[in-house]
């Protein structure tokens, strides 16, 4: 396990053509890693994620992806992902699509090292297109649908904190973070803060991954903005609404990427582009529970 900058972690471990899973369900979305992947010009990636969210919309707009594996490609509560939608309608990215349960089941198979995972869900047009197989139970007459494992080359995630041994801690809404990490060959983690080795042993109930499963830790406060870190900063709902407007216009989308991704060197520079009051409001809201 190494402590690396986000830039160095991506430079060493993320390669063209890989299958990446940038984990985090609404919460803890690793925007700093995603932006760094755009800046370093990676290409031909398969981007896997239950909920592509704004991060994959931005990465697709930047042209890093050939393929998206997903189950819900919306801007939650607001509408559609416009860059994703344009790219799919123009045939520029391939899609491989599941229900949430199926996608998570694929990660469970990957994390457990099994060749498939059973589930009872009824058929729909997605499962018919894919000719989803069924297997017969050896213990009775039932047969169940199965899905294959999903094993990302690299899973990237953001967490509240880690210790210097790379043990990773997070709480709140964890979604499919654990399964996505354990299914991957390599795991890169960014954290709000790092603590001395062994000092978080009393936080064992919040352990997400033990250090021996982690390739690198990067200390990157605000790495999840505009998503959130429970109790640290709240979701920037205004930006989720703003992105709906920006992303409808390809020129405005490119201009946003120039200003907030390409023209800056790192996350500190990204943060300097936001009004300090806006960020302090998100911090305050996380503490007292209103925004």
């Amino acid at each position: 396990m190494d402590v690396l900058t986000v830039r160095e972690a991506v430079r060493r471990h993320v390669e063209d053509g890989q299958n990446l899973y940038l984990a985090g369900f609404t919460h803890l979305i690793p925007f700093a890693f995603g932006h760094e992947i755009i800046r370093q010009g990676r290409r031909h990636l398969t981007l896997s994620r239950a909920t592509p969210d704004l991060l994959y919309d931005q990465m697709i707009a930047a042209g890093v992806a050939d393929r998206v594996v997903f189950s819900y490609a919306g801007n939650p509560g607001i509408g559609l992902l416009q860059a994703f939608r344009r790219a799919v309608q123009a045939g520029e990215v391939e899609v491989e699509e599941y229900s949430h349960f199926e996608l998570i089941a694929r990660l469970e198979a990957g994390a457990a090292g099994l060749p498939f995972w059973p589930l009872r869900a009824l058929d729909n047009d997605l499962t018919r297109l894919r000719a989803r197989p069924r297997v017969k139970s050896p213990y009775g007459d039932e047969d169940v649908a199965v899905v294959p494992p999903l094993c990302p080359d690299v899973t990237l995630l953001h967490a509240h904190c880690a210790d210097e041994d790379g043990n990773v801690y997070a709480w709140g809404l964890l979604g499919e973070v654990r399964e996505a990490a354990l299914a991957a060959r390599k795991v890169l983690v960014s954290v709000e803060e790092i603590r001395p080795a062994g000092s978080l042993r009393n936080q064992r109930d919040h352990l997400v991954l033990p250090g021996f499963r982690v390739e690198s830790i990067s200390v990157e406060p605000w790495a999840a903005h505009p998503s959130y870190v429970q109790d640290v900063y709240d979701r920037d709902q205004d930006f989720y609404l703003e992105w709906d407007r920006i992303s409808r216009d390809p020129a405005a989308t490119s201009a946003w990427l120039e200003r907030f991704v390409y023209d800056i060197v790192d996350r500190a520079a990204y943060l300097s582009l936001w009004p300090p009051e806006r960020l302090s409001r998100l911090r305050e809201a996380a503490r007292i529970g209103v925004q």
Binding site: G77, Q89, F101, A105, G175
Partner: protein, 245 residues
């Protein structure tokens, strides 16, 4: 759609939820209606969100199903894998409260594409958990605006399965709430009009449905929202552009 119709839709949707039921709540109008029920006749309604949040009572209407406010007020937050396999798949969710882009006469829902799948005219968000909720919830309720585009004779894509041809399955769609009225499914699993809002006629509903719609022998006029329902609806919807479906 005017805000009065939205309020009627939320109120009629909310009344379909009974106290102490466990309801899996989708984004948009379902979220509004479930939160309305929780604040009025169903204080012990258990709001479950597919993000893994169990028994939330958010102070304001959450924008997304993964909002920090939902987590702060929840009983617990499950890993999604646990929610789907151990709670939903095993029948512990009473009601799936869903939106969608299109619904057909069997209660099949499309939230995937308009046009051909390989080269869609409009690419929509996709299933999320909707196909799973439609599979496993003890019943589902669909909230959707009523027009010819949303009630077509043939769906471009079946995302969430309704009732199979010619028969009504256990579970599956129980009601559809629209901005014209209330529909259910008969013993053959076919959608049927059972109620309209004051001022809406049966022929108007038929004109805005893409197939010859079955109509119950008696169509009730739905009770308009009470002053309590209107007040809570307004407080919840204030400042929100909650999309429907």
């Amino acid at each position: 759609m005017g805000s009065n119709r939205r309020c009627e839709m939320a109120a009629v949707g909310a009344r379909l939820l009974r106290d102490r039921e466990r309801v899996l709540v989708g984004v948009g109008m379902p979220n509004l209606a479930a939160n309305l029920a929780k604040r009025l006749h169903a204080p012990d309604l258990v709001l479950v969100y597919e993000s893994g949040v169990i028994d939330a009572y958010p102070p304001e209407l959450p924008l997304s199903i993964g909002d920090p406010d939902l987590v702060r007020t929840s009983l617990c937050v499950l890993p999604i894998a646990d929610l789907f396999s151990q709670y939903l798949q095993t029948g512990w969710i009473d009601v799936g409260f869903l939106g969608g882009a299109q619904v057909d006469r069997r209660g099949n829902l499309n939230s995937t594409v308009i046009g051909p799948y390989d080269r869609p005219k409009v690419r929509l968000a996709g299933s999320g958990g909707a196909a799973d909720v439609a599979s496993f919830a003890r019943r589902t309720v669909v909230l959707i605006p009523h027009d010819l585009h949303r009630f077509p004779a043939h769906l471009d894509f079946v995302t969430s399965p309704g009732h199979p041809p010619g028969t009504r399955r256990a579970g599956g769609p129980a009601h559809v709430v629209t901005d014209l009225g209330l529909l259910d499914f008969d013993s053959e699993g076919e959608m049927r009009l059972i109620g309209v809002y004051p001022g809406v006629t049966v022929s108007e509903v038929r004109e805005r449905t893409g197939w010859p719609l079955r109509v119950a022998s008696e169509v009730q006029v739905l009770t308009p929202p009470s002053s309590d329902e209107v007040a809570v609806y307004r407080a919840l919807a204030k400042g929100k552009e909650a999309p429907i479906g």
